[in-house]
Symmetry: C2
Subunit: 237 residues, 2 copies
């Protein structure tokens, strides 16, 4: 089994070989990841450099290698660690409630760690915490008897929508006044060539809540589609 996989699943049975031969380890993988994650939360993924993380422990960059391997491995470990699933709300009366409960919980995680949206979720190597989310979603499908053929596309849509919503929310919260002016200048540049776009609701003063409302609306849309019997009925009038 790969070293990286062992590290990913270290809290679910996989054991890093403990009786080691060299000097004592002065660092701890979980602490390293906590520091790296707090760095990313505060200043973005590009602030997470091997030297910056190691400096928090008064160590050099190379000291991290026995713990996390390469930088890409570090990022994958951060991704899974930050994806820890909370206890989901128990109220699941119907499919729409079950899906929106799952979606908003995942949305909260992405809001707390906006850099997660920059990481691909189509990774071949996924960790235990990300698997938990997938299993929970499939549990909702199972509970409300979603037809199997619709499950894979629904999974894709839900993950993609949650991530896209969190991404726009994060982008909004990073907007400065100067950015807003620049945006309006750009919008004013070609006003009449795109009538339909212009008719869309623009950035309103309450865009704090707009992403979450949009997410719920999208999930409800999908829930009705799933209840209508799946894609093979879509051609019916």
């Amino acid at each position: 089994m790969d070293d990286h996989l062992k590290r990913l699943w270290r809290h679910r049975g996989a054991t890093l070989p403990t009786p080691r031969r060299g000097p004592r380890q002065q660092l701890d993988l979980d602490e390293i990841l906590a520091v790296a994650i707090s760095l990313a939360d505060a200043s973005g993924l590009e602030a997470v450099s091997t030297r910056a993380v190691a400096a928090r422990f008064d160590k050099t960059a190379m000291a991290l290698y026995p713990y996390v391997g390469t930088k890409e491995n570090l990022l994958a470990l951060m991704q899974d660690q930050a994806s820890a699933m909370p206890a989901l709300s128990v109220a699941q009366e119907d499919l729409a409630e079950g899906l929106s409960g799952w979606a908003t919980a995942l949305y909260e995680v992405y809001l707390a760690h906006p850099w997660l949206t920059e990481r691909s979720w189509a990774q071949a190597t996924q960790g235990p915490n990300e698997q938990d989310w997938m299993e929970a979603l499939l549990g909702v499908f199972e509970r409300f008897a979603v037809p199997p053929a619709s499950r894979t596309p629904a999974v894709t849509m839900l993950y993609a929508t949650v991530r896209a919503t969190a991404q726009t929310a994060a982008a909004y919260s990073r907007l400065t006044d100067a950015d807003l002016e620049a945006w309006q200048a750009g919008a004013a540049a070609v006003p009449d060539a795109y009538p339909l776009t212009a008719a869309l609701p623009a950035i309103t003063p309450n865009w704090q809540d707009a992403p979450r409302a949009g997410l719920l609306a999208a999930v409800n849309l999908l829930a009705t589609g799933l209840q209508a019997g799946g894609p093979h009925l879509s051609r019916r009038d």
Copy 2:
């Protein structure tokens, strides 16, 4: 008007000031972008460095600055240039056909330029070609009288789903045999803890077509949801 915006809209009326004072320009913005895009297509976004692009013209990195500005501007220009919209298929009998025509066309663009999925589409500054796609999608909504309240969430879902599908397709096509072995080793590591995940269709030999089929199924799902009357009806049994 910002220099960057002028460059973005240079083919839609915005004019870069032509009677300039210094020596003749030896490069051309469109050629620079073509080279940068071909670089990204072949070797990924991280292969696009200012020095690498400039070297194709036997120039130094700094020679690009009068044409594209900063690296971030270069990426934004590439993004829009690569997003040029082809003529969409004219057959749009019903909403599902209209949406899947739009979605597969955008999907093809993303397949041709996989690095587009790494770029945020929630950018405040969007270019003309990306606007074209948005306008076309809203045109489909308008044509089939999609209720206005459902349009914004539907836009999010469609874009997000197309991008996610293209991302997984790109990840699949990059998979080597060694990656596949590693993936199976990881899947075998914890077999029984995730029964529902295990029951999902695994990576089949025909994963070339799986993403596209998944995209169509997802779009049909959404179309039925939209035709069912929107999210306010989702609570009905």
